[in-house]
């Protein structure tokens, strides 16, 4: 029988080692796709460490937001950079081994986590959420909006700065570019689009087609 505490410690060091190695991979691998995959592994291992510390909500948020959304977007961008169908198809085979390695390491980490959980629940240190009788997510929400309200609001302010900076650095007003003007489209009056023309209901039969009377003005 393995000592549960020992096993948890071993798991922690294993996750930490994977995180560090994967992070090194992000900055040293020459192939950008490999680097992004390595980054996925970094995030995943960090999430595993957080799960060990019983921060379930943060761990899941990291996986869902970063691994699930941001990293996939990253991969899209990196793969789209060189749009060459032939090479993309080649790429699938080329990137497969790295992808499989990353997936296998992730699987191992998940199994280890399940092991930690199954062995002993009391191994984990005093958790403020359990003490307060709340779930992890509930406790986090409480802490964020009471004790850590000010840092939370400052973080929101930092995001505002990010938005302003992104706009000022990328928005370009080009001249001579044709584009829609929504305000003018909305304000348009029927009179400027169609013209109602009055004409006789019946046109008298013209004896000669060349001398036909023009009715439209």
């Amino acid at each position: 029988m393995i000592d549960p505490q020992m096993f948890q410690l071993v798991c922690f060091y294993a996750f930490a080692a994977v995180t560090v190695v994967a992070a090194l991979g992000v900055i040293t691998l020459r192939n950008t796709v490999h680097a992004v995959l390595s980054l996925v592994l970094t995030f995943f291992s960090t999430a595993c460490i957080w799960l060990l510390a019983e921060a379930e909500f943060l761990a899941i948020a990291l996986i869902v937001v970063y691994v699930g959304a941001v990293m996939v977007l990253f991969l899209f961008v990196v793969m789209m950079l060189d749009i060459n169908q032939e090479r993309l198809r080649e790429g699938f085979i080329k990137f497969l081994p790295v992808g499989i390695i990353v997936a296998l390491v992730m699987l191992g980490e998940m199994l280890a986590l399940i092991g930690v959980r199954a062995m002993h629940e009391a191994v984990m240190g005093a958790n403020p959420a359990t003490v307060a009788g709340m779930s992890n997510t509930e406790w986090l929400g409480h802490a964020l909006y009471t004790q850590f309200l000010l840092p939370f609001e400052i973080a929101a302010l930092i995001l505002t700065v990010g938005v302003v900076a992104a706009v000022v650095l990328t928005l370009r007003h080009r001249t001579g570019v044709r584009h829609q003007q929504a305000s003018q489209q909305v304000r348009v009056q029927p009179a400027s689009r169609i013209r109602v023309v009055k004409m006789a209901a019946e046109v008298p039969a013209a004896p000669q087609p060349e001398a036909g009377k023009e009715t439209t003005p």
Partner: protein, 479 residues
């Protein structure tokens, strides 16, 4: 639980956030020809903020949001001068920005967001607020540096600044996490109590080292100074002047909060580290500045050496040293604003006035500009009876009183070495012949020239009457 009282303590910051958001909206809906209005509004916003900071100052230090935010005398002094410097920056920057078609509302809003970061940073009572205030300041600064996106030099400077800044933030966070691990608290006041009797003193010192690296990065002290020359040279001068003034006050505030409020009990550990940083900064700043031909780069190396002097005050680790360092930070912020303000005023579209040779014969073309520049250079060099001299004297005195006589001697020797390159600028202005076919004179309307002259003359006046200002700096550390 936060209540109304917490919000009242935070009033100046909240007001500035609201004002910045309003300016942002106003800018979006404004016609191009109405935009100068934004300039005056931004200056008015900053002046009102100064009023709110001074007017609502409580007699005793108070905390808000459970110790996250501290409003005391130190934060008051730093905020007043940070806001004042930013208002001066706005005044000097407008002609420059208009000439180069960089006059956009975001310059003002991003600068105000950066000032909010400074105010939060110098009032931080928790490691979290220190970090977030710092990020608020630096993120706005990165965007400002890249403002002139068609310039390759500017983009390069922004990328360098961003990467090194991110590295510094990482170091700082790593140090903070170690300190948290050793003491179990993020609150600076509780950290101060816990630091004395932690079970893991080595972990604490390990964390302290990384925190000092982070602080040195932000101060621009050698050997973590690599970003300063490139960023100063690469950014538009209107941004350089901002980066070179108010954030220096913030860096002092951050060092004070982390080292004294948080880890004051470990002063015997960090005193020597700061002394080493000071010696390196003095040496690199003053010696490398000698070979510079670019004026902005010269001032960048001069900043590094000035941060060395600021560290001399911090090395004292007592009220006297902090007062001297705070006084030094204020004097440097005012001198830096004046120096870059003159460069801004001499520059015009197509002529940056960046090279020292551009100043050749300035005295014959514009005697007043040459006189102002001479005063600033003498003040930066520490020639009596200017402001900079007394600031230097006080930090050297603080270092001697702390038992660092050798450090004070090093400081004095490098002050004399530094005199050379400041005097070279004066020599070029007064004794060299002007280059034929060039024209150089003070640009901008009368108000800009008036404010600039007042700013420079203040250096002379404060040189004679530095007592009240230093008294204020001393008082905030005694109580």
């Amino acid at each position: 639980m936060p209540n109304l009282n917490d919000i009242l303590i935070l009033l100046p910051e909240l007001y500035l956030v609201a004002a910045a958001c309003l300016l942002l909206l106003l800018d979006a809906f404004m016609k191009a020809e109405q935009r100068p209005l934004l300039h005056w509004l931004s200056i008015a916003v900053l002046l009102v903020a100064i009023y709110l900071v001074v007017g609502g100052q409580p007699s005793q230090p108070v905390t808000a949001f459970g110790g996250m935010f501290v409003r005391d005398g130190v934060s008051e002094v730093l905020k007043v001068f940070a806001l004042l410097c930013t208002a001066l920056v706005f005044v000097y920057a407008k002609p420059y920005l208009t000439d180069r078609k960089l006059f956009v509302g975001e310059y003002y809003t991003l600068s105000i967001f950066a000032v909010i970061g400074i105010m939060l940073l110098v009032s931080a009572g928790n490691l979290l607020t220190v970090y977030l205030g710092l990020e608020q300041l630096t993120l706005s600064s990165y965007a400002l540096v890249a403002l002139n996106r068609d310039s390759r030099l500017s983009s390069e400077a922004a990328i360098k600044y961003f990467v090194l800044g991110a590295l510094a933030s990482g170091m700082l966070l790593y140090g903070m996490s170690m300190v948290y691990g050793a003491t179990g608290t993020l609150d600076l006041a509780r950290l101060h109590l816990a630091a004395g009797h932690t079970g893991m003193p080595h972990l604490l010192v390990f964390g302290l080292i990384f925190m000092i690296v982070g602080i040195a990065f932000k101060l621009g002290a050698a050997p973590f100074h690599m970003w300063i020359p490139d960023v100063y040279q690469g950014s538009p001068t209107a941004v350089t002047i901002f980066i070179g003034s108010a954030p220096k006050l913030a860096a002092f505030g951050m060092a004070y909060r982390l080292l004294e409020s948080g880890l004051g009990d470990l002063s015997q550990h960090w005193q020597l580290m700061l002394a080493c940083l000071a010696v390196l900064s003095l040496a690199i700043g003053n010696i490398v500045a000698i070979v510079q031909t670019n004026l902005k780069r010269l001032l960048a190396y001069s900043t590094i050496s000035h941060m060395g002097y600021l560290l001399l005050g911090l090395v004292n680790a007592g009220p006297e040293g902090y007062a001297a360092a705070l006084f030094y930070a204020i004097s440097y912020a005012l001198m830096g604003t004046a120096a870059f303000g003159i460069i801004l005023a001499l520059a015009r579209a197509g002529f940056e006035c960046e090279e020292i040779d551009d100043l050749k014969g300035l005295n014959q073309r514009s005697p007043w500009a040459a006189f102002l520049m001479m005063l600033v250079m003498f003040s930066l060099a520490g020639v009596p009876p200017l402001f900079g001299f007394f600031a230097k004297l006080l930090v050297l005195q603080a270092a001697i009183h702390a038992g660092f006589l050798w450090l004070a001697i090093v400081g004095a020797v490098f002050a004399i070495i530094g005199l050379y390159y400041y005097l070279r600028v004066v020599k070029v202005m007064y004794f060299d012949k002007p280059v034929e076919g060039t024209e150089i004179r003070l640009q901008g309307d009368a108000s800009v020239r008036l404010v600039l002259s007042l700013n420079v003359l203040a250096l002379l006046v404060l040189g004679f009457a530095w007592g009240p200002l230093f008294g204020w700096c001393q008082r905030v550390f005694v109580g």
